[in-house]
Each structure stands twice: as C-alpha cells, then as structure tokens.
C-alpha cells in the first residue's frame, strides 16, 4: 500500500497523476464523506460537496504544502467546501441570520437516509440548531473523536477556542433537550 507521500509525489507528476488521484479518492472518500455528511446532513448535498472537494484537490495539488499533511489538507478543503455550500444555500433561500439553521433542520427532517432511533433523532435536531462552527467542532469531537491538536490544524483555530466552542455546544444541546421534555 502506497504512503501519503508517495501518492503526493505521483500526483505532482503528469504521467502518474491520474492513477495517484484514483488511489487518493479510494483511500479518503469514506472518511471525507462522513465528515461532510455530518455538516450538511442530506446525502445529496454531501455527494455534491464531496465531489467539489475532490475536484478542488485535483486542481490545487500543485500548491499543496507537504508540511501540513495530506489528511489535514483534505479535511480542511472538505470543511471549507461544506461551510461555503451551506452559506450559498442560505443566501439563495434568503434565510436571515436568526434562522440560520432552518435549512439544516429541513435537511434532517426530509432525509430518507436517516438511520437512527428517536433519541438519536432528537440529538441530531439539537445539534442542527447550533451555529455552524460549534456544530462542526461538536461533530468532530463527539462522533469522530478527533483530538484538539489535530482540529487546530484542520480548522486553523487555537485549542482553547475549540474547547470553548465544544463546551458551549454541549451546554446548548443539554438546554434544548431539557426544553423538549
């Protein structure tokens, strides 16, 4: 199995670029998909964003600086693409700042691929009400168990700020679940 460094080297060589890109997609498609899916919630949107992410990787591989690590770089692109996608959807739907997550909630309610019980549905509803960045940090910590040191590199934010975001997110989720009872 090729290492990330090998894949990067082959991606930068025109004669091996195509095959190396295929290998990269195979290796990271599922991890990136689930990361994106938790941000946009709907499968169709996640599919769009995942494709946008890989197209961007293909176009910008020349500018990739290897010190950041391939995994971190890919997650950063996927995160930016997801947040940009959501903000564009909100703009098109003329959703104001106060009702920012209406679109996300609708995605959750109409998603035919939701596969959880009532508790998980209520938890997802509570998460969907969070501001985008808190939601992102909560998902990465709670579902993916990503360490704050790694999150720092992906989101380019300090560990302190990330911990604070996670703390606020948990508090809001608890409050929402209490109010629902």
């Amino acid at each position: 199995m090729k290492s990330d460094q090998q894949i990067i080297a082959e991606l930068k060589d025109e004669s091996t670029k195509q095959a190396a890109f295929r290998a990269l997609v195979s290796r990271y498609k599922e991890r990136l998909y689930w990361h994106i899916r938790k941000i946009v919630l709907s499968h169709d949107d996640a599919d769009d964003v995942l494709q946008n992410t890989f197209v961007k990787v293909w176009r910008n591989i020349e500018g990739f600086r290897e010190e950041s690590g391939l995994f971190t770089w890919l997650f950063r692109i996927a995160t930016n693409e997801s947040l940009t996608f959501i903000s564009q959807k909100k703009k098109r739907a003329f959703i104001s700042h106060e009702e920012t997550n209406t679109y996300i909630l609708e995605n959750l309610e109409t998603d035919p691929y939701f596969d959880g019980d009532d508790i998980q549905y209520r938890l997802q509803k509570a998460i969907a009400r969070l501001p985008d960045k808190q939601r992102l940090v909560f998902n990465m910590r709670y579902y993916d168990d990503i360490k704050y040191q790694d999150m720092e590199k992906i989101l380019e934010t300090s560990a302190g700020a990330l911990k604070a975001s996670y703390h606020h997110a948990v508090k809001k989720i608890e409050d929402y679940l209490k109010s629902e009872e």
Partner: protein, 153 residues
C-alpha cells in the same frame, strides 16, 4: 421512548458513527463519477479557450478602431470644443421643409379653403375694380373660351 438519563448516557458515550446511511453501492462508483466530472469540466474550459482564440483577431480589430477613434476624437473635443459644438448643433437642427402633418394642419387651419394658400407668402395682387366694369362683365353673355380669348387680347 427512552428516559432522560438515556440521553445523558448517549452524550457521555460517543457513538461509533452518526445515524445516517448511504444509498447502496454509493461508494463503489464514486471514483468514476469524479473522474467523469473533472474530464467534463476540463473539456468545457478548453472549448471556452478555443472560442476566445477564434474571436481574438476580431476583438483586436474592434479594439484598434476604438483606440483610433479615441485618439482622433478626444484631442478634437479638448482643443476644438466650440467647433464640435457648432457642427453637432447644425446636424440636429430641424429641416426647413414641412412635414405632411404640418402641411395638412396649416391647410385646415387656414382662413380660406384654397390650396393656393398653402404655397408661400406671395403678396396678393389687389386690382381696383370699377363698379360699372363689374356690371358690364356680369351682364355679358360669354362662354369660357370667349372670356379666355378676351383676356389674352
């Protein structure tokens, strides 16, 4: 429905995965779909480039005409503004000839119903006619040809 304590347990114990699923076989064909999309986008970009290459000489010619016009007209408008203003004023002045509507309007608003009134401002020749001559004229029995002949004589 689960109790409140179950929710807190849920939050305390991170789950292995989010409660979502994907359509069957979704990941199997992903590489092909992404490659097809990249190929399509690359093709679109290259065809756009082809069109620009084709239009380049035409655009260059149009740009040079615009440049020449600017080089000639701009200095003239700066150094000879009064001359340009005069010529442009002359070009927009109304022509002396009357339009069809104006002719009809002046005809119907004229005091007499003669078409003759429409042509120019020539002074009417007023001849003084003696009352006796007028009586003689009216009393003579002449046809139109005879009148015409007498006038010519």
């Amino acid at each position: 429905m689960k109790e409140k304590k179950d929710i807190w347990t849920e939050l305390q114990n991170p789950p292995s995965k989010a409660p979502f699923k994907v359509p069957e076989g979704y990941f199997d064909s992903l590489e092909d779909r992404i490659e097809a999309r990249i190929a399509k986008e690359t093709e679109q970009v290259s065809s756009q480039g082809k069109l620009i290459r084709m239009l380049k000489p035409v655009l260059a010619m149009a740009a040079s005409f615009a440049l020449i016009f600017m080089l000639v007209y701009y200095p003239l408008s700066v150094f000879l503004p009064s001359y340009l203003a005069k010529t442009s004023q002359e070009s927009v002045e109304k022509p002396n000839t009357l339009s069809e509507d104006e002719l009809l309007f002046s005809y119907f608003s004229a005091s007499t119903n003669s078409l003759y009134d429409l042509f120019g401002d020539e002074e009417e020749v007023q001849e003084e006619v003696d009352a006796e001559e007028l009586l003689d004229y009216l009393s003579t029995e002449m046809n139109e040809t005879e009148i015409f002949a007498s006038l010519n004589n």
